[in-house]
């Protein structure tokens, strides 16, 4: 009897403890949310390719992304900007479940790709990542030949059966990535021997060789010089004809140049989503304006 009473008391204590802890945790963001109050602008579109609702991301106890609602249209380029640590990369990595590789990372909410919930427990991430490719911040070609780098994806997914078909896929992918002319004579040399910009284009070629529908780019130019950056930006514009592209960038000029819509993140909140022109000329939110005019970031 006494023990039971104690149990009940413990339970009550726990219940009463939880909300207060939650309050403490969210104290910081709530400060901001007094100003943020949900997302302004046009986060939603008709017939969205990717539909995200109430996405929360936690690293252990710490919440990194707060209740983000966002739609991404087919064949659009959407850029995500915001100060360092605002959760934009974390959010991007939810779209092909790359966050699964981080043990302590937990994602809540729903993300739908063509109406299919990608966080459904039974879903296999392998075909998902074949549909949603990713280009990373640092060029990360495999320490194999240029040819093998591009051929790897089609090979493991069984997209081609004959060697000649594979050659074709490799060539067309390298052509679309604007790298063919530079490397066609040395397809057997290691991909790691290329320059930084070439490596990043090789990584893009590797990604499009799988023919994904969506390409996620996580600051693809942050490690590159301006000329290499310009080439990648040109490439993004060309690729948008066939692919849906979500790009995280630190460079506002880059966002302005390549994207149709721009999403501004602040401390894990999606503050504003609007046409890129509007965001950079006449933003709806004070925080966005403060950021693009360089008052912080």
């Amino acid at each position: 009897m006494i023990k039971m009473a104690e149990d009940v008391k413990d339970e009550q204590k726990m219940q009463s403890a939880e909300p207060s802890a939650a309050e403490n945790d969210s104290a910081g963001p709530q400060d901001m949310s007094a100003k943020i109050q949900g997302t302004v602008g046009r986060p939603f579109v008709d017939d969205a390719k990717i539909k995200m609702r109430g996405v929360n991301v936690f690293y252990g106890e710490k919440q990194a992304v707060f209740a983000v609602d966002l739609d991404i249209k087919e064949n659009e380029v959407i850029s995500m900007i915001g100060p360092s640590g605002c959760g934009k990369s974390t959010f991007l990595r939810c779209i092909n479940r790359m966050n699964d590789t981080i043990d302590i990372c937990r994602v809540e909410g729903s993300i739908q790709l063509d109406g299919m919930d990608i966080y459904e427990s039974k879903l296999d991430v392998v075909p998902l990542r074949a549909r949603v490719g990713m280009v990373f911040q640092k060029p990360n070609p495999f320490p194999k030949s240029i040819y093998d780098n591009v051929a790897y994806g089609p090979k493991i997914h069984g997209l081609v059966s004959r060697k000649s078909d594979l050659d074709e896929v490799v060539e067309s992918s390298l052509r679309r990535a604007g790298l063919w002319d530079e490397v066609k004579d040395r397809l057997d040399s290691p991909g790691t021997g290329l320059s930084g910009g070439q490596q990043q284009r090789l990584c893009i070629a590797r990604t499009i060789a799988v023919s994904p529908e969506v390409i996620l780019m996580d600051e693809p130019c942050s490690a590159l010089d301006p000329i290499a950056t310009a080439k990648i930006e040109e490439l993004i514009a060309e690729l948008s004809e066939n692919f849906t592209i979500a790009i995280v960038t630190h460079s506002m000029q880059q966002a302005a140049r390549v994207s149709h819509r721009t999403a501004y993140f602040h401390l894990g909140n999606l503050v504003e989503v609007n046409e890129t022109d509007k965001v950079f000329t006449n933003p709806d939110h004070d925080l966005t304006e403060a950021y693009i005019t360089g008052r912080f970031g």
Binding site: P127, L128, A130, G133, F136, K138, P143, H157, T192
Partner: protein
């Protein structure tokens, strides 16, 4: 007032001297400690080399042997048993008596006979059995000298004769042999071609080397796949929780467990519980596997962790499954590190004595093992056994065996370094 206030530059200047002095002291301390280490190493090498170099040479005595069938008591050369049982010792003794006709008394003759190794008659028998046409001929052979004479002769050549085990008469015989040119120092082939023996001049390391190789083969065949598989599972698949943490801590602890404990474990489990035979390479290999596993697991995990996460992300981002990511990308990059760890683990196992003592690999085994289930000993245990022997001639054998062991270890460690250099990829 102006005197008291030094400029910033002056203050820096003053502190600079002190800083440089401290740096110099630190450097000197480092150089001293390295010098001490190198000096100790050289002292060790010189000591072992000085002692062991004699082990590679052996005194031989030339005798003209009359292979008389009467003396040999062989009347039918086609009768194998008769040839095998021939009185070979007799003809050798006869040859010695002929060479030193002045030796008459029984005691002196026994001393005379002891000049030639006990193995000589066996060698003669093997030769005759291989070619029976030798019977009836007179042939010249170089026979191994007995260990006491061997030691005396070799030390005599070095100018500091060791006379404790040879008396004046025997020394006179040796002098006579030297004069006639019938005694000389040659390369000790027996050391590399025979197993252990109670006669130092017949004892060799071949049995121990083969035993070591068989044992290491078992160790490598078991510990590398198991260690790599465990490392891959722990690093790539295992959830991070209390249990895996406990396993990890235990692996680290196991690496620090004294090796003799593994010997006790092997004795209790493999021999007593499973009833495996004693002193065989299989059990030795199993015990050494237990001992090297922690080393291999830890080095393999370190190698896996050293693979840049960007490579994993690249593969996973392309839609490679976990298995494909590991097999196609992570493992090839981690393999050099894993192999290096394995070779270092093997080198450790090669030098291990204590656990093998527990499972009976310390027995006196004359035959060279030819399979994993033959009784065998290993090099370090052989060294241990010889160092325990009272015969003076075993002193140089011990050091010579140590030299061979060191050679193996240096070879393996060099391999590890070369392998790492060759396979190391930059990204």
């Amino acid at each position: 007032m102006t005197k008291a206030v030094s400029t910033q530059a002056e203050l820096v200047e003053r502190s600079l001297k002190k800083r440089y002095r401290a740096e110099k002291r630190f450097k000197i301390a480092g150089i001293i400690s390295i010098s001490v280490g190198i000096a100790a190493l050289f002292a060790l090498f010189i000591e072992i080399f000085g002692n062991g170099i004699g082990g590679f040479s052996q005194t031989k005595i030339k005798l003209d042997i009359v292979l008389d069938s009467e003396e040999l008591e062989i009347y039918d050369v086609n009768n194998e048993e008769e040839v095998s049982n021939g009185y070979y010792e007799g003809v050798i003794r006869l040859a010695l008596r002929k060479k030193f006709p002045e030796v008459k008394s029984r005691g002196d003759r026994r001393k005379l006979y002891s000049m030639i190794s006990d193995g000589a008659s066996y060698r003669l028998r093997d030769l005759v059995m291989a070619d029976t046409s030798l019977i009836g001929q007179t042939k010249t052979f170089w026979f191994l000298a007995d260990d006491d004479f061997d030691t005396y002769f070799k030390t005599l050549l070095d100018g500091d004769p060791y006379t404790a085990r040879v008396d004046e008469k025997q020394r006179a015989w040796v002098d006579q042999l030297i004069e006639e040119g019938n005694i000389e120092k040659g390369f000790n082939t027996a050391f590399f071609t025979s197993g252990d023996s109670s006669e130092p001049e017949l004892a060799g390391i071949l049995g121990a080397v083969i035993g070591s190789l068989l044992t290491l083969a078992i160790t490598l065949a078991l510990s590398f796949p198991i260690g790599v598989a465990a490392a891959i599972y722990l690093n790539e698949y295992a959830p991070k929780n209390r249990l895996t943490e406990l396993i990890e801590v235990n692996i680290r602890n196991l690496a620090a467990v004294p090796s003799i404990i593994f010997g006790l474990l092997g004795l209790a489990i493999f021999i007593n519980l499973f009833g495996m035979p004693r002193s065989v390479p299989t059990v030795g290999g199993l015990v050494l596997t237990l001992m090297t596993l922690p080393t291999i697991i830890m080095s393999s995990r370190a190698a896996l962790e050293a693979v840049p996460p960007s490579i994993r992300e690249a593969a996973l981002g392309l839609g490679a499954s976990k298995m494909q990511t590991i097999l196609h990308h992570v493992l090839p990059l981690a393999l050099p590190g894993m192999l290096t760890g394995a070779i270092i683990g093997m080198a450790q196992a090669l030098g291990e004595t204590a656990p093998l003592l527990m499972i009976g690999m310390v027995a006196f085994i004359v035959d060279v093992p030819s399979w994993f289930t033959d009784s065998a000993t290993v090099l370090p245990v052989q060294i241990f056994l010889w160092s325990d022997s009272p015969e003076r001639a075993f002193v140089e054998k011990t050091s010579a065996a140590i030299m061979v062991l060191l050679l193996f270890l240096i070879f393996m460690n060099t391999m590890a370094v070369l392998l790492r250099k060759k396979l190391e990829r930059r990204w």
